[in-house]
Symmetry: C2
Subunit: 600 residues, 2 copies
């Protein structure tokens, strides 16, 4: 049952030849692992993805969960798939042994979940959110909270959610109004309304652990007055058994264009006596706590976008190889047989564009996951700080770039299918709808752009940004000495140069105090930066492919040649986009900023 | 009941200040018309669009037509809306009086239908296809066919369809297999299967007139052996009354991601004794006949894309003005009230991008419609030839550019709405799904690119292409003398220069006999060409706005200022895209062409 989730050769190439995840195996944390155990985890995840998740992808899109008599009712295939997943232990793939985890490198753990995303993003979300919520407790909670809530989440007995957004407070989290009053016994009583809570209600697990942002009575206004709480659907007794139903009510479901298998809920906390909640970490420190896990959550969103784009690409590739339509330019004989679509130059260009986007996106997401690992195994404080800083810098790109360009890959997958592509009889239109949510999930491009340009680039005096440029320059140097890659190296160097100039111009305007103008085109800066970084990763893929060719690596020659071609493609077809953007950015253009509202 | 279909000021500006449609009123054909009658037709169309079409847009998306006991069953609102439309006479807006038409200029007639597209593209398609099919009979059919079929179509008693595609023959029309055998009485009997036939069955009109491409027994292979037939659902007696049911059977419905209100059908012709059909025009000349009306059909698709983008833009604009979220950069006071979204630079940039795309797209579609009018009223053969040639040249752009960039506007409309944007509780996600069909309808970007670069640019020795460049240069000259526009004029001139260079490089490679390589990036050439032409139209809009400001034109100053700003925006943010594309095109890059199928 081939489900077109991923090209296994590419996955192996990226994990082991490009990102060299097996380098980590020398560290104590991964002492029990070897190449085979990593492979076994991925094989297991792929098997579950293909056999349990992929088959009902369309079904949960067509028959989305409904709200009936106060309950969420959904297709039984969802629970069945998640029950199988729970048994594999993969929910805790990267967690510590002592929490019931497998202690797999993050890149492998993320990829295990990524395969489920590619197979069925709607069903996967219940698991993905649980992992994120558990991570939050594990990094921020007390030992008791870890045992009582996080461990049952990692084993899949409880599932989790993130409750941030309120009807009047989306991106502007500082304006949230949910209140938490101390109950006198160390617990709190919460009252407020949350919206867009994915997986906010269901009967897929024994319990649901909501991670809720709310304000304490003495909270300062804005983002500095937000605290984080655990609010379980059912209270949890000391022995881990379930107690009373908490005062959390499902107020309704939201109906989306994609991810239709995942309930998106409105939840009312404290309609009656107040929902029982437990403070996680320090008072008023909730947003910082939330951001602590956001790097991984954002890598998760980015990887999800990649995987949706990837499966669309593979479906389009298969279709282009099988479907016969028309004849090549120059063949004037109408009686000659029609050729497969892939023989047409424009189809091949679209497939190569998709390949460049999805494989480039995958290497970007895995670069992020690799930095998570580097942080974990760092031998010195300095190494750890640098890994953490680079990860912070790249996170907005990892979140945004795939959600822009792998969505574009999904659009191209429709285009390759022609009229069939937009019918619900073929799978690619659903991937396109599903992926359209990702440019908004976990912060829009606008938010990510402000984060990158307003904070990350200049963080620590620009240290991480400089280090990234240094690493890119090292790759350029290495590639320059290979005649096959020198041209691409030169193009990347020119691209980096234009990005640097743009950055300098913007920083100068910022230092003059024109902060609003400096940040006005932050989204476009994000796009230019993302393309540059993906161009770097493509050049590294080309170097790894060259090595594979020269040293007789594990993949067939045609695979490595395809990588070289895709690198050529990215540097010739895609990098020029950066020049166009940086032209504008260098001028720190204020056209949009100065547009009068009445002029629209 | 404001439905956010169009900005009336912009419509009036584009029709009367930019494209000066009232210039045509001096010709005999339009002698009965004046500015008021044109306005009255538009007002009527807008009223029908707002009152009858828009209110059930979501309804037909959610409850699409179903196939029940061999019949198509759909929401009653569709018939009600089309019944009202029929009474207005707008189906024949641009047709001759003698056929029951209003003899309105094409730009106005197209726009009347365009307003319906913006309101409810699914319901509108029944009307749009009827107009297209009637046009085909009026330009290619016999007098008897015009009376018997086209006139009842123009009055709305019959509706029409286009039956081109077959399961194995989509873009490659030359491979179609439906056969037509002479019956001996001048009629034919057709047998074959058609797919993706929009509006292929329904009970909205007394009869359905299918325009069917099929092969005669002695037909040469390929596109030179295709003939065009009228195949009515019910035979039509000499007195115009309906006779027997013809042998055309509905085999099933196709389910799409958008345009869900329009049935997309599989039709079987001649399951029993053969479907009765009547040859239109000469044998084996069907494709040429079809292409004869395709210019207008393609303008229709382009305008439809514009209108879907336009309504998305207006919804996003309204939302951005009303929804309060966050505070401007630099305001650190969390207790200050949240500001409307439109106050944020990134939101304003997205709105301005949308404005540039949809108003630019509208001016492009109307430029096409204007050329249709110029063709009709031309006083000399030369004038007529030039209008026809320019229209031929621009048609692939008019079809493609809006379906790429106004779709992008729909995506931005979602983005402006944040999480609400992807919910079905808000309208913008439907516009995005609806518009995603248009890059495929009436020929993909790939097909349009080949048409532009492979045929249109070099047609008549490049005469029309040269004339277009000459007209652009004239606009550049005019704008150069205005200090406020000189910078934009310079940018456009540089863009045109790079497009010309790319064209020359490609033509040189073509002349060396490397046709496949020359055409390999035709889609990107189409994109670069489209952006250049829209840049030209934006500069013309800026000139017209300047005139409006200087001479106290009918619109408020803020409106004209907004146009100037949007022109700045297009030339600063969008034209650089052309430089990136032409860099690649100048090199006549063959990377994608040379990619081996095994490399993917």
């Amino acid at each position: 049952m081939q489900q077109n989730i991923i090209n296994i050769r590419d996955l192996e190439f990226q994990l082991f030849e490009l990102h060299r995840v097996d380098d980590f195996l020398k560290y104590d944390r991964y002492a029990d692992h070897n190449r085979e155990t990593l492979q076994a985890a991925l094989d297991l995840a792929l098997k579950v993805a293909e056999e349990e998740f992929a088959p009902h992808t369309r079904l949960v899109d067509e028959e989305e969960p409904i709200f009936e008599n106060g309950r969420v009712v959904m297709r039984p295939e969802v629970k069945k798939a998640l029950d199988v997943l729970r048994e594999t232990g993969l929910l805790a793939a990267s967690q510590d042994y002592e929490r019931g985890g497998m202690q797999l490198p993050s890149a492998v753990g993320q990829m295990c979940v990524g395969l489920l995303k590619g197979a069925n993003v709607g069903t996967q979300a219940y698991a993905g959110l649980t992992i994120a919520a558990a991570n939050l407790i594990l990094t921020q909670g007390s030992e008791e909270q870890k045992t009582r809530y996080a461990e049952p989440m990692l084993s899949g007995r409880f599932f989790g959610t993130m409750c941030l957004t309120e009807p009047h407070s989306g991106s502007s989290l500082g304006d949230l109004r949910t209140r938490a009053e101390p109950a006198g016994d160390g617990s709190y009583r919460l009252k407020g309304n949350k919206i867009f809570i994915s997986a906010g209600d269901h009967e897929l697990s024994d319990n649901i652990v909501h991670m809720v942002l709310a304000r304490l009575p003495d909270a300062p206004p804005g983002v500095k007055g937000i605290s984080l709480f655990i609010v379980p659907k059912f209270l949890v007794n000391d022995d881990g058994s379930l107690g009373e139903r908490n005062d959390v009510a499902l107020a309704g479901l939201i109906h989306k264009m994609g991810y239709r298998g995942t309930t998106s809920t409105m939840l009312n906390f404290g309609e009656k006596e107040g929902a029982v909640g437990y403070l996680v970490g320090e008072p008023h420190n909730g947003l910082a706590a939330m951001f602590h896990m956001m790097n991984e959550a954002r890598i998760g969103v980015g990887l999800g976008s990649v995987m949706l784009g990837y499966t669309g690409y593979l479906h389009a590739l298969e279709y282009a190889r099988e479907r016969r339509q028309g004849r090549p330019v120059g063949n004037k004989d109408p009686q000659s047989p029609q050729v497969p679509l892939i023989e047409h130059a424009d189809i091949r260009r679209m497939l190569l564009t998709m390949k460049a986007y999805v494989e480039g996106g995958l290497s970007l997401a895995l670069q992020g996951a690799r930095l998570v690992d580097e942080k974990k195994v760092a031998q010195t404080g300095e190494e750890q700080e640098m890994a953490a800083g680079l990860l912070d810098l790249l996170t907005p790109l990892i979140k945004s770039w795939p959600s822009q360009f792998c969505l574009e890959a999904n659009s191209l997958a429709i285009q390759v299918h022609g009229g069939y592509g937009y019918t619900r009889e073929y799978p690619v239109e659903q991937f396109y709808r599903d992926n359209r949510l990702n440019p908004i999930h976990e912060g829009t491009h606008g938010i990510q752009g402000m984060d990158l340009l307003g904070r990350k680039v200049s963080m620590a005096g620009g240290r991480y940004y400089q280090e990234l440029l240094r690493r890119i320059a090292a790759t350029v140097d290495e590639a320059s000495s290979d005649p096959k890659l020198a041209d691409n190296a030169r193009r990347l160097a020119a691209t980096v140069e234009s990005l640097k100039e743009a950055t300098d111009c913007i920083q100068a305007v910022k230092q003059e105090g024109q902060v609003e103008r400096a940040l006005a085109n932050a989204s476009l800066y994000l796009e230019a930066f993302g393309h540059t970084v993906v161009g770097w990763l493509w050049l590294r893929q080309a170097l790894a492919a060259t090595k594979g060719l020269d040293e007789g690596g594990p993949q067939p020659a045609a695979f490595y040649e395809g990588k070289l071609k895709a690198c050529d493609f990215f540097s010739r077809y895609e990098l020029p986009r950066v020049q166009g953007l940086t032209q504008l950015l260098r001028e720190v253009d204020a056209t949009a900023l100065e547009m009068e509202a009445e002029g629209f």
